[in-house]
Amino acid sequence: MKHTFYGGIHPAEHKETTARKPVAPLSKAPSQVVIPLSMQPDSPCRLIVKVGEKVAAGQQIGQADGPGAPIHASVSGKVAAVEPRPYAGGGSRMSVVIENDFQDTLSPGCTPRSSWEALTPQELVDIIKSAGITGMGGAGVPTHHKLSAALGKADTLILNGAECEPYITADHRLMLEQGEKVLGGARILMRALGLDKATIGVEGNKLDAVEHLKNLLPTGETGICIRTLRTRYPQGGEKQLIQRITGRKVPPGGVSADVGCCVFNAGTAAAVYNAVVLGLPLTHRIVTVTGDAVARPKNLMVPLGTSFSHLIEEAGGFVMDPARVISGGPMMGTAQHDLSVTTDKTTNAVLCLAAGDLPAPQREQVCLRCGRCVDVCPMRLAPLYIHMYTQRQLWRRVEDLHAMDCMECGCCQYICPARIPLLQSLRTSKFEIAHRKGAEA
């Protein structure tokens, strides 16, 4: 049975710039890393090291008391400061600054396991939790949370290798170069959930990765299935991927487990493999540094907490004036005004767009009612009406149109021929509705 998700768009991919470039280590390690204490909003870690203390790479530096995941030092060195630093997600966050001693002394706790097959699901979840693994594609939800929420409820495990945002090739290279880790992680996650099947969804613009993963599977393998998906944004949205693969639709306000699904990024699966088999916590990730403004776009293996400016230097620096530097992809990424911000567990790209890559500044025109925004909305909203009512501040009407279901993929604003900032209206309306709900409660 072939399913499809609603709406969607197909912007120019721009992936060819970095798709064939192997993941390279940094040519020069950063002299300091800045690791935010809270990679998830509202759940800062408790600091367990002191300023001045020496830390080893992979040593835990923050303990998650709340719902978050613990954090680890990504390089060895000395804790220089604990202070608020600008954060790529916006604003500033309390962060640990570690001066790199360039020794890369590995923490003694990081030792490989000879086998994991004998571990119980709960032990696996505990290892994943203590390795500080969070979703590496989008929202960065701690993986142990998803696993605990899905345990016993999920009948389908999906690995997200869609990577539908333009420009980004981090997951593509990961699947090509560390395919066995992705598959190994999938097997561990299957065991942790007590499932015997997993599906890996990969978009059709990465056929080499599909081919590679299929070749890695032993003949007669029935547990893991690789699915090629027709390239369309936002295929990598959790709800969209579930709909595409299983045909199930996550109810409003619900989570994947409500429809018996559990979705992890391909990168998360590789991190799970690193944690369970190699004993390594999540301290590095692949970041695509790309865009017309940098000299040599590349895929880099980056310690968490490396500053954007360091990564841009690694990519040869700017060859032309960058008009916009984005953490993430051009559809959902966050524009940065300060390049001292650092990578975190979800930073899959540093995108440096030149003025020519950005749409020419254009005045907003009147709505033609062409209906394209309705057509492309994967959540089946009517953005033009939400925009209209938002402008008139008719919040109840906006709520009746289910504005809260919006996942801010940006398809409506991308497609609008009149260049109306529809997504901004949706954000405004979501904020207002949530605010009003909060005031009532």
Partner: protein, 345 residues
């Protein structure tokens, strides 16, 4: 590195599709060219002059009104040009030039600008102007030049060779097939409005719009499909299939289905709404043709449906993601409550 670069911060998305209002409108104009060429072939240069005068008139009205009212100049979006072409297309080629200027005035000033300009009018300007001219000048609006007998270029052409259109009181209005063959009907070798006669060229233009993604297939399909089904099931003599084909090719059905009913501003945005809209257009077209006093009901059918768009959009609103059953019920409940409890704070 900081401070050296001027980084612009804006919220996502950071890219947008290359298609803007102007390029969409330009595509519509391009799609109208084949039909215009056919009109010039059958009716001579007067067809071109009439179209040019209509376009010029619409552009001038739009410019003058926006200027007088101290509003921004909107000539660049090309929507007035489309109205001009479409209005000329639904007029006979022999129409005196000054009448079409009155039509331009009604379309641009009364129907479009007085309601707030592009995006705000609830009736299709060209069709509303056509209906207005039909009321005011019924004789010149129904005097059809014989194809290939090019009428003169004077302001009015009293001596032009005329003929009856297939959809008229003489022919299909009274259940008789016209003497034109099906082939003639298809290419447009018949009497009629200058842009509506050539189904072939209109279908080519419509296909261009569909391929370019300018229009969606739902409205034309539902519209033409409904007319086809109704005329096939209830022919007024002459065999089911023959009657149906003559009905589809006669009158301004193709022009209406591909270019008028799909007008963004005056059609629904939701998939369900579009289907309802198309079916409604088809239904009223056949009803007016069979039981009304006008031989062709397309323009009035579309105008009637134009005025229901707001309701159709509500009714056709897609089901909420992840919620299937009971939604319609909830909608009608809310609908009957009339949106009470509205907070305007």
């Amino acid at each position: 590195m900081n401070g050296k670069h001027r980084l612009s911060a804006a919220s996502s998305p950071h890219i947008c599709s290359p298609f803007g209002t102007r390029s969409l409108m330009l595509d519509v104009l391009i799609a109208l060219i084949p039909a215009l060429c056919m009109a010039v072939y059958f009716y001579g240069p007067r067809a071109l002059i009439l179209t040019a005068i209509s376009v010029g008139g619409c552009e001038f009205m739009e410019f003058a009104y926006r200027r007088l009212m101290k509003k921004s100049n909107t000539l660049g979006d090309l929507s007035a040009a489309i109205t001009g072409v479409l209005l000329a297309f639904v007029c006979p080629v022999t129409l005196p030039y000054w009448i079409i200027l009155i039509g331009d005035f009604f379309a641009i000033i009364v129907v479009k600008q007085l309601f707030g300009g592009l995006g705000k009018n609830f009736l299709n300007p060209a069709l509303a102007a056509h209906a207005f001219l039909m009321l005011c000048y019924p004789i010149p609006m129904t005097t059809w030049a014989k194809p290939l007998e090019w009428p003169g270029l004077g302001i009015s052409v009293p001596g032009a060779v005329t003929c009856a259109a297939p959809l008229s009181a003489e022919f299909m209005g009274s259940g008789i097939l016209p003497d034109a063959s099906l082939g003639d009907m298809f290419v447009g070798n018949i009497g009629g409005c200058l842009g509506e006669v050539s189904a072939l060229m209109l279908i080519i233009g419509g296909a261009y719009l569909l391929i370019r993604g300018v229009i969606r297939v739902r409205i034309p399909l539902a519209f033409i499909g409904t007319v086809a089904a109704l005329t096939f099931l209830f022919p007024q003599g002459n065999g089911h299939l023959r009657w149906m084909l003559y009905s589809l090719l006669g009158g301004s059905l193709m022009l209406g289905a591909f270019f008028m009913a799909t007008d963004y501003v005056t059609s629904p945005v939701t998939a369900g709404g579009e289907l309802f809209f198309g079916v409604g257009c088809g239904l009223f077209t056949v009803l007016i043709r069979y039981f009304g006093s006008y031989p062709d009901g397309v323009s009035h059918a579309i105008l009637i449906m134009n005025s229901t768009v707001c309701l159709l959009d509500k009714a056709g609103m897609p089901a909420r993601f992840g919620v299937a059953a009971g939604r319609r019920k909830a909608f009608w409940k809310k609908f009957r409550a009339g949106g009470k409890g509205e907070d305007a704070s």
